[in-house]
């Protein structure tokens, strides 16, 4: 597997990390994704995706302060790196370019 590849779910998580800029952590990403996608996602899937993104260097993480609603555990916030932005841009460019190639005919 190419280390620069991006799975579909990973892409969604990466997008959400970017969208939530500086406020992205596990539960927040989960809630926003569930809302956008209108389906249930398990938190562990988010964790796995975040770890993979981090290993590939697309996101950075840092610990936040102590909060009460997590039983005293710190949040781990993620931000997108330049590499992450680049891969998203490339993904987006590939898709739009192919999308543009769709002939203008009716699909109904």
């Amino acid at each position: 597997m190419n280390d620069q590849s991006l799975g579909e779910f990973e892409e969604l998580v990466l997008l959400m990390v970017a969208a939530l800029h500086d406020e992205a952590y596990g539960v927040a990403i989960l809630q926003h994704l569930e809302e956008k996608l209108d389906r249930k996602i398990n938190i562990s899937a988010i964790h796995v995706a975040l770890k993979r993104l981090e290993n590939k260097g697309f996101v950075h993480s840092r610990f936040g302060g102590i909060t009460k609603d997590r039983g005293g555990r710190r949040k781990k916030f993620y931000v997108m790196t330049a590499a992450g932005k680049k891969v998203l841009d490339r993904q987006y460019a590939i898709r739009t370019s192919i999308y543009k190639d769709i002939p203008n005919i009716s699909f109904s």
């Binding site: 596990g26 539960v27 398990n42 796995v48 610990f63 555990r73």
Partner: protein, 876 residues
């Protein structure tokens, strides 16, 4: 505030790597509190679900140690390559470890089999055998035999007895079943409670019902098949010869091999027909409180009421026996203790060989030593191979490897080998089990259930050996500073040299002690095996006298027997020596010295007794054949004669008193060579032999010496003649050889297992020595090359190598010899007749190890020394 389930949290913390834990735990808690606002129950469930879902390899602790999957794969790839680089040494490692393991497994199974005796009874811990202690002049004589009436009385009178049953062996009998005749020996007679107390599995019939009807018989599966093939056995009638007709009421699984009570059919207690057929004089005694024909088992309400039982049983016995009768002491022995702890207790329900806990401990010791040695070999050879890989470590680290990655590399390599050897060992054990059965007759229960049961141990051993073998390189080499490792490419840094020497010395200590120990143990066994009993047991038939009629007409019976062409000699004894039943103990003193009492064994023999048994007379004369003279003559064995001054004992008058008060006064006429009248393990005590017609003990055994190998015809003729005089009983007979073989059967099997195990451990040990020696010679190729270039001869080079090794062997012997000497001495302590410890086994062990080493070095060194030095010098 509510809290998610603690156990789930603990589970998460157990498997999850720490650096991820804060994040995952935090998120799970946040989600939990969100849900808990609505319902705590669903929040709990959701939390548990999330913990389970988080159980992904990426979160596992172990994955952190291995790093990325790519690295993980690389460990295996490099591991395989480095093992394949030295296929010979890898093979030695593989063979040594797997053979050692398979032997360990087989012995462990054997030990487990022995330890599992009678564990299959659900109520086993509450079942006890009642032991009755008969008091004799020379001490207590505990026996399993009790009155037939005891079990019922106990059941009725003692509150702590939940249930009780009477059992005794059935006489061998002809069985008429399905129109065919079979001879069956292994039946028992039991009360109806039998199956309610013991858990012998019934295939057909109700536990409480099968023996409740009179004249019922329960057959074992294999016996039913033998009798009826595929026909339905239930309800069929069987004729059991002396016992009469029985109806099959149940079918049971064959008794497990690990059962103290062995039988293949079981009949209800119903003696009328039996007595009519067999022993009409018997029933009164047999069924009375005075008779002691049967074993009694009780099921107590709780193991703690055992003491209470032993106290209260006397009152019960008094109630039934009456006050004027002597009450013997009774005590309980747990069913599960019978296999190992019933030595010294006479009687058994059926043919069965008791276990010897000392042998089991010894076997366990051997098994552990074999496995330890195999592991030690493996660790030793691997470590010495790893020492050469310092440069690899240096390069790895220079390229940016972390310490833990280097550690992982060596651990994975070690793991590959250990896993392969263990799997091979397991396979080997499965393949070897049938051969083990052929060798020892012991059926080992080797199936997937036992394998699964042993799995935790197995996995534990794999981890342990992996860690030990990989320990040195994994945790020591990996910590070397990069520069010094790379700069100092040779392996002969001082630290490594010392480790190498320690390893080789330890290996030699191991091999020499084991070799010496094995030689000594084998010497002891062949000493015991080759030791004569002191009389000739060959072609000797022993007939037990069961009726007064035979006793009275003995001379006629003897004369009739002697007319048979196949019979060499016939003699009568009060008790056969070395038989199942022991002889009377008597008090002996010289007539002039009434206070000097000696306790001795008494045997009464006919005049031709000594010559028939082939007991050597060393001084004086034998009985001369005249009853008037012989009945006042005595023969002492050497041990007894010594009490009266050896030679001076001849002509002395001795007074012999039996436990019952009968007295015999007679003159010592001869001294016989010591013979074993008990087990070979026990020392020979003083024995006094009197005439067979004496006031002490009556004639009880007839011994027939046959001319040739016995045939069925001879036996039938003897039986016919016997039955002329004893019209009631079946002739009870046994060949002396069989009797002795049975007594030493377990010992023989043990000896065979021991020899097998010794051979294996020697092979493994030598394999280790060869491997180690060869390895060091190979690693010195470069030195060989330089020495040759500088003009050394082959002999010089070789001698130098051998000298180094011999110093180590010498050092090892200095540790090994005292060690094994002490161990051997400790082991021999328990034998009454033992070999003397001499220097020769130790010398032999050191010599053979030394020669083997020299030979290995010569072989490997020869090849290397004859190579062109350019080959070894041009690289590395």
């Amino acid at each position: 505030m509510s809290h998610p389930p603690k156990w789930a949290l603990r589970l998460l913390r157990w498997f999850c790597r720490e650096d991820y834990l804060v994040e995952i735990e935090g998120d799970l808690f946040e989600l939990y509190y969100l849900r808990a606002k609505d319902s705590i129950r669903s929040a709990n469930l959701f939390f548990v679900w999330n913990v389970f879902r988080s159980f992904r390899p990426i979160n596992w602790k172990v994955m952190k140690a291995f790093g990325s999957p790519g690295m993980f794969r690389s460990y295996f790839k490099i591991g395989f390559r480095s093992l394949m680089k030295d296929p010979r040494f890898s093979l030695i490692n593989l063979v040594g470890l797997s053979v050692g393991l398979s032997i360990f497994l087989i012995i462990a199974l054997l030990v487990q089999h022995e330890l599992s005796f009678d564990q299959f009874h659900a109520k086993g811990e509450r079942i006890y055998q009642v032991i009755q202690v008969f008091e004799n002049a020379d001490g207590d004589d505990p026996e399993i035999f009790t009155s037939l009436k005891l079990s019922e009385a106990l059941r009725l009178d003692l509150p702590m007895v939940e249930n009780a049953v009477t059992i005794h062996g059935a006489a061998s009998t002809w069985v008429d079943a399905n129109g065919r005749k079979f001879f069956e020996e292994d039946g028992i007679v039991a009360g109806p409670q039998f199956f309610e107390i013991f858990d012998f599995e019934l295939l057909a019939g109700e536990k409480s019902q099968v023996l409740s009807e009179k004249r019922s018989i329960v057959l074992s599966e294999s016996l039913a098949q033998k009798f009826f093939d595929l026909e339905q056995p239930i309800g069929q009638e069987i004729d059991l010869g002396y016992y009469g007709r029985f109806t099959v009421s149940g079918l049971m699984k064959d008794t497990p091999a690990n059962s103290y009570i062995q039988f293949n059919f079981i009949i209800t207690q119903d003696y009328d027909i039996y007595f009519e057929n067999v022993a009409s004089w018997w029933p009164a005694w047999f069924q009375s409180w005075q008779g002691n024909p049967a074993a009694t088992y009780v099921l107590l309400d709780d193991p703690s009421s055992k003491d209470d039982f032993e106290l209260s049983i006397n009152n019960t016995l008094k109630k039934y026996l009456g006050d004027d009768q002597k009450i013997n002491r009774h005590y309980l022995l747990g069913l599960q203790d019978l296999h190992f702890n019933s030595h010294g207790i006479d009687g058994r329900v059926n043919e069965y060989v008791k276990g010897d806990s000392r042998q089991i401990q010894f076997l366990m010791g051997i098994a552990v030593v074999i496995l330890a040695m195999a592991c030690f070999n493996y660790i030793n050879i691997s470590t010495s191979r790893y020492i050469r890989r310092t440069r690899e470590v240096g390069i790895r680290k220079a390229m940016g490897a972390y310490n833990h990655q280097v550690t992982n590399q060596f651990l994975v390599e070690s793991f590959i080998m250990v896993l392969a050897s263990f799997s091979l060992g397991l396979l080997l054990a499965i393949i070897l089990t049938p051969y083990f059965h052929a060798l020892t007759g012991i059926d080992l229960d080797f199936n997937w259930i036992t394998v699964l049961k042993g799995a935790p141990l197995f996995i534990g051993a794999i981890v342990l050996v992996t860690l030990f073998a990989g320990f040195y390189p994994a945790f020591h080499l990996s910590r070397f500073p990069v520069v010094s490792v790379l700069k100092n490419l040779t392996i002969s840094s001082r630290g490594n040299g010392t480790i190498r020497k320690v390893l080789v010395t330890l290996q030699y200590v191991f091999v020499i002690s084991i070799l010496a120990a094995l030689i000594i143990v084998n010497k002891q066994y062949s000493f015991l095996g080759g030791r004569s009993l002191g009389f000739d047991t060959d072609k000797l038939l022993v007939i037990e006298i069961n009726s007064g009629a035979v006793r009275e007409n003995y001379i006629n019976l003897k004369n009739e027997l002697l007319q048979q062409a196949d019979i060499l000699n016939v003699t009568g004894l009060t008790r056969m020596i070395s038989g199942y039943r022991s002889s009377a103990t008597v008090n002996v003193h010289a007539v002039e010295e009434p206070m000097q009492n000696q306790s001795m064994r008494f045997y009464g023999m006919e005049a031709d007794g000594l010559s028939t048994l082939d007991i050597e007379l060393i001084e004086g004369s034998d009985f001369n054949g005249q009853t008037s003279l012989d009945s006042t003559s005595l023969i002492l064995n050497e041990t007894a004669a010594q009490q009266y001054g050896g030679h001076a004992a001849l002509g002395q008058f001795l007074k012999i008193e039996s436990a019952t008060g009968s007295v015999l006064q007679a003159k010592v006429v001869g001294i016989a060579k010591d013979f074993h009248y008990r087990s070979l393990h026990e020392p020979i005590g003083p024995v006094v032999i009197g005439y067979y017609l004496n006031p002490i003990e009556g004639l009880d055994d007839i011994v027939v010496r046959l001319k040739g190998a016995h045939t069925r015809e001879t036996l039938e003729i003897i039986e016919k003649i016997h039955n002329k005089y004893d019209t009631n009983d079946v002739m009870t007979w046994e060949f002396m050889d069989d009797m002795i073989q049975r007594a030493y059967e377990k010992e023989l099997i043990f000896h065979r297992i021991f020899i097998g195990a010794s051979v294996v451990s020697i092979v493994i040990a030598l394999l280790g020595v060869i491997g180690l020696a060869a390895y060091f010679v190979v690693s010195k190729s470069k030195e060989f090359g330089i020495r040759k270039v500088l003009g050394a001869s082959f002999a010089d080079i070789l001698l130098l190598q051998e000298k180094g090794f011999f110093m180590l062997i010498l050092l090892a012997s200095m540790i090994a010899i005292p060690l094994s000497w002490i161990l051997a001495d400790l082991w021999l302590v328990d034998y009454a007749y033992r070999v003397e410890l001499t220097a020769s086994p130790f010398f032999l062990a050191v010599l053979s190890v030394g020669m083997l080493t020299a030979f290995t070095i010569y072989l490997v060194g020869y090849r290397i020394a004859n190579e062109n030095p350019v080959n070894s010098l041009k690289y590395e």
